[in-house]
């Protein structure tokens, strides 16, 4: 058998095979055609693919669908961060600008400095404690330090420290916000790194009540309010709040606070 015959035969065979398969596939793709939006697939490819649900949708594919349908915000994926948002923006055709990353901030300085009303035996979970009573701390607004937020975090970024208060490892945190949702007392809030002054308390109780149970709770004495040169701190319902737009981080309130519950980072 000559070389030419062999080559021709080989070509014919494989070519024929290719032809048959090509036709078959085309027919099949027509037959089982599924309407998909190509944009959705492109978005899916960009997303991290962890299916963590931090966006509030059932997995990355679902989020992609919603984004394309403009039901979800472009920056809805906290895990992917700004890069992902930008890329999604490119696909969908919208401009996005970068915003500063936010981390959970613990609005309670109590922990071991706040009295316990009873002795608790049971599962380590703040919600579970609340189900049994109004919470073990004397303060109804404070952190119980039972770690519901720790368990809610899919990235192991929160841990309960020695002072029975949660702290956040910013290297691991993806700002997904699951811990904020999980906290039964709404103690966590998002704060940017540039926002330096925070009130470490969440209690709307009267000064006397707070003082009875907590060494560092805000008693609503208004000293900070009076001393703030920028008028950036206000006491409402016995709790001081910092207006971050006005705050210049001068540190006067931190010094003046009799309860040491204003913190400068």
């Amino acid at each position: 058998m000559s070389l030419t015959t062999l080559i021709i035969q080989a070509m014919a065979t494989l070519g024929g095979l290719g032809l048959v398969i090509g036709i078959m596939l085309i027919v099949a793709s027509k037959l089982f055609k599924v309407e998909t939006n190509p944009l959705v697939e492109e978005v899916v490819e960009i997303l991290p693919g962890a299916n963590c649900g931090a966006c509030g949708y059932a997995g990355c594919a679902d989020f992609a669908e919603k984004v394309v349908a403009e039901d979800a915000p472009l920056d809805g994926c906290p895990v992917g961060g700004f890069d992902t948002t930008k890329e999604i923006g490119v696909i969908i055709g919208q401009e996005v600008s970068e915003s500063e990353k936010e981390y959970p901030y613990v609005r309670c300085g109590g922990g071991i400095r706040c009295v316990d009303r009873f002795d608790y035996v049971g599962i380590e979970d703040c919600t579970a404690v609340i189900m049994l009573s109004d919470g073990e701390k004397g303060c109804n607004y404070g952190c119980m330090g039972r770690g519901t937020c720790v368990r809610a975090c899919p990235f192991d970024a929160i841990f309960i420290g020695e002072d029975r208060l949660p702290s956040v490892n910013k290297n691991l945190c993806t700002s997904c916000g699951l811990c904020l949702e999980a906290c039964p007392n709404d103690i966590l809030m998002f704060a940017k790194d540039s926002e330096q002054v925070h009130v470490q308390c969440n209690s709307h109780d009267k000064g006397k009540t707070v003082k009875a149970v907590c060494e560092v709770g805000c008693i609503g004495c208004k000293i900070c309010e009076k001393n703030c040169p920028e008028d950036a701190i206000k006491v409402t319902k016995f709790l001081a709040e910092v207006d971050q737009d006005k705050c210049t981080a001068c540190g006067i309130c931190v010094e003046k606070c009799p309860q040491n519950c204003i913190e400068m980072r």
Binding site: I7, Q9, A10, M11, L14, G18, L19, G22, S29
Partner: protein
């Protein structure tokens, strides 16, 4: 996925084109390599035969009835091994056997009285590297030199051959190949 018939034709065309080019490439490579392969194969056979039957000087092929290729060559069943003076000293053979992964081609020699194996060789195999592939190594092969046909079984079944650890199937396949082929030759010669 595709919008028009034209696209479809283009896609199929490209698919076919690539297959055709691929096959052409393969065919072009195949022809010279195949020639070389045949040469290698023949050489390997000759050298193996000499190795497993050092006493023989000449091997006379015994052909079967089956035609195996276009040139009309017949299947070689086994070889009669003769020494330099032309006396029959034994029989040599090649045999394929299913191993743990695929075919094992075993070469073997047996003395003229079908009493003992003179030696074996492994021509080709695809056994698991590191386990079954040890059948091609000397520690295993040398066990067969001058072993009695009667003892041709694994040591755990009372024979003289120690199986390779973890590769009982491969070891057994070699032994089976030898046993069966010796039996076949015995029949043919009887």
């Amino acid at each position: 996925m595709t919008d028009s018939n034209k696209d479809i034709v283009i896609i199929i065309g490209k698919l076919v084109l690539i297959s055709v080019i691929a096959s052409a490439l393969l065919a072009v490579t195949f022809v010279p390599t195949n020639e070389q392969l045949k040469k290698n194969y023949a050489e390997a056979r000759t050298s193996t035969l000499a190795e497993i039957m050092p006493s023989a000087a000449e091997f006379e092929a015994i052909y079967g009835d089956t035609v195996i290729n276009d040139e009309g060559d017949k299947e070689i069943l086994y070889y009669r091994a003769k020494d330099s003076s032309g006396n029959l000293v034994g029989y040599a053979f090649f045999r394929k056997q299913v191993g743990a992964q695929g075919m094992i081609e075993v070469a073997g020699g047996v003395d003229s009285s079908f009493n003992a194996i003179t030696g074996i060789g492994i021509m080709a195999h695809t056994e698991t590297p590191g386990l079954g592939s040890k059948i091609a190594d000397d520690p295993f092969k040398s066990q067969f030199t001058d072993v009695k046909v009667a003892d041709l079984s694994l040591s755990k079944s009372g024979g003289a051959i120690d199986s390779i650890t973890g590769a009982t199937i491969s070891s057994q396949a070699v032994i089976d190949a030898l046993n069966e082929q010796v039996g076949d030759i015995k029949m043919a010669e009887a």
